[in-house]
């Protein structure tokens, strides 16, 4: 396996008003690495959606971004409630977000579909009452 860079973040579960810090930091780091704008855009949106999900649905977690020569791997891990029906959660429009979260503009049920759309591969490992780990890969041309 070739050399890679790792960025690690702890995602705070309490503060969904200012959530998204890790994604913003990743965007900065990837810019400094000189990656193409479109790649940065896809990585940072996919990560932001996952980060927000951990905050609003799972009380926080950790985020890791590994940058390899040929791909970027984003791993989001939480010890939240897990996802009972992944196929249902993946459907556009499905959301269990509460009123409070919706009033901030979240809860359209588009986050997981966006994560899939903007990445080349997405794996969801989830166990009810144990937690969820989502691994997304974006290939670098």
């Amino acid at each position: 396996m070739s050399e890679f860079l790792n960025f690690h973040y702890d995602v705070d579960g309490d503060n969904f008003v200012s959530a998204g810090q890790a994604s913003v930091q990743v965007k900065k780091n990837l810019r400094q690495l000189g990656l193409p704008t479109e790649v940065i855009r896809r990585v940072s949106i996919a990560m932001y959606e996952g980060e927000i999900n951990m905050v609003i649905h799972a009380n926080g977690g950790t985020a890791d971004v590994d940058v390899y020569e040929d791909r970027i791997v984003i791993r989001l891990a939480d010890k939240g409630p897990g996802i009972k029906d992944v196929a249902l959660a993946m459907q556009e429009g499905f959301s269990t977000a509460n009123e409070n979260v919706r009033s901030l503009g979240f809860g359209a049920g588009m986050g997981l579909p966006n994560m899939k759309r903007y990445t080349d591969d997405m794996q969801i490992d989830t166990v009810v009452d144990v937690g969820t780990t989502i691994t997304m890969t974006i290939r670098l041309a």
Binding site: A19, G20, K27, E38, I45, Y48, F106, M110, N114
Partner: protein, 108 residues
Amino acid sequence: MTAAELIEKHGFHPIVLPDPERETEGCYIGDLLSWVMGKACAGNVWITIMSNVNTVAVASLSDVSLVLLAEGVTLEQSVAETALARGVNVASTDLPAFEAATAIAGDL
């Protein structure tokens, strides 16, 4: 047309303009953040009435050229500072979203 030129031409109220020379291209209207992240394109003018700190994060990550707050919606001072720090242009207008969009349509 640049963000600054668009704001000037239509008499929008500039809130923060850290990147005035940014070219505007096309437009997306919406308040649900994941829709915006899924559908807006880099360079778009994003017209919305959603004006919390998440709006700024989404604007930055989606790489839109300008957030145009419609219906006279304003931005809290602390959120405006975040927008400035992240290089996100924000302006406001009293026009509803549809009128704002039709006003700028010929310029994008």
